[in-house]
């Protein structure tokens, strides 16, 4: 039975990048690629070949939804679940995000001690099904 190993995180805030690294690599033992924005993620994805992507929504330059669309065009991203990380909390805001084709979303603040476990359902149920939105 395969297990989740490689996760890409796309997040513009350096403090959140640091806690993601601590949470997923340190606590969760995952192999991590942390990108500061959408363009960096698009450049890194082919070589890193993530099995799941955590994607911030509000970012300068390419937004989260724009990055998602561009990632989906990459062959390496076929079937890879993409989960939005967002500080938005209103139901209508969350619903709007899922329209963009994300596998799911996690609302900030996340628990750094459990995030590696929290993302597993998205990987288990989303892989192979993720497609262009």
């Amino acid at each position: 039975m395969s297990t989740l190993r490689r996760v890409m995180c796309v997040e513009d805030d350096p403090d959140i990048r640091a806690i993601l690294d601590f949470s997923l690599a340190g606590v969760g033992g995952l192999e991590l690629c942390v990108c500061a924005g959408g363009q960096e993620a698009l450049a890194a994805a082919p070589g890193f070949a993530p099995e799941l992507v955590l994607l911030d929504v509000m970012m300068p330059g390419l937004s989260g939804p724009e990055t998602l669309v561009a990632l989906r065009a990459l062959p390496v991203m076929a079937g890879v679940p993409v989960v939005f990380l967002t500080a938005k909390a209103m139901p209508d805001e969350l619903e709007q995000l899922l329209v963009h084709g994300a596998t799911g979303l996690i609302v900030k603040p996340f628990d750094p001690m459990t995030l590696a476990q929290d993302i597993l359902p998205y990987w288990e149920h989303g892989r192979g099904r993720a497609s262009a939105g």
Binding site: D12, D13, D15, I16, A18, I19, F22, G26, V27, M58, P60, L85, T86, A87, A89, K108, P109, F110, D111, P112, M113
Partner: protein
Amino acid sequence: MAVAAPAPDESGLTPAMQAAFLRLRAQFLAGLPARLDEIGRAAAAGEVAGGQAALHRLAGAAGGYGFADLGTAARRAEQVLLAAGEAPFHQPAWQAAWAALQAESATVR
């Protein structure tokens, strides 16, 4: 001679991981004044988009480091800014939300 690994505490973290988390928390707190300054500068310049973005980032980051009330105060200030119409930074609702955020940040530093 084999040495047993340090036992994790009730959080499940080893002492080394606990220390790493505390270092990250300290880094976040060290950067908090700069975050507040950014919001204050945006307010002084009337830059709604810049203020909202800075509040949004603070709201997303604070809770992850265990400062839930700080994150809530930032989120509240962001919502006030988004709901305000003309000259939002001059409105009482913003003034109150900004004061509350500053007060909350003072309790964590």
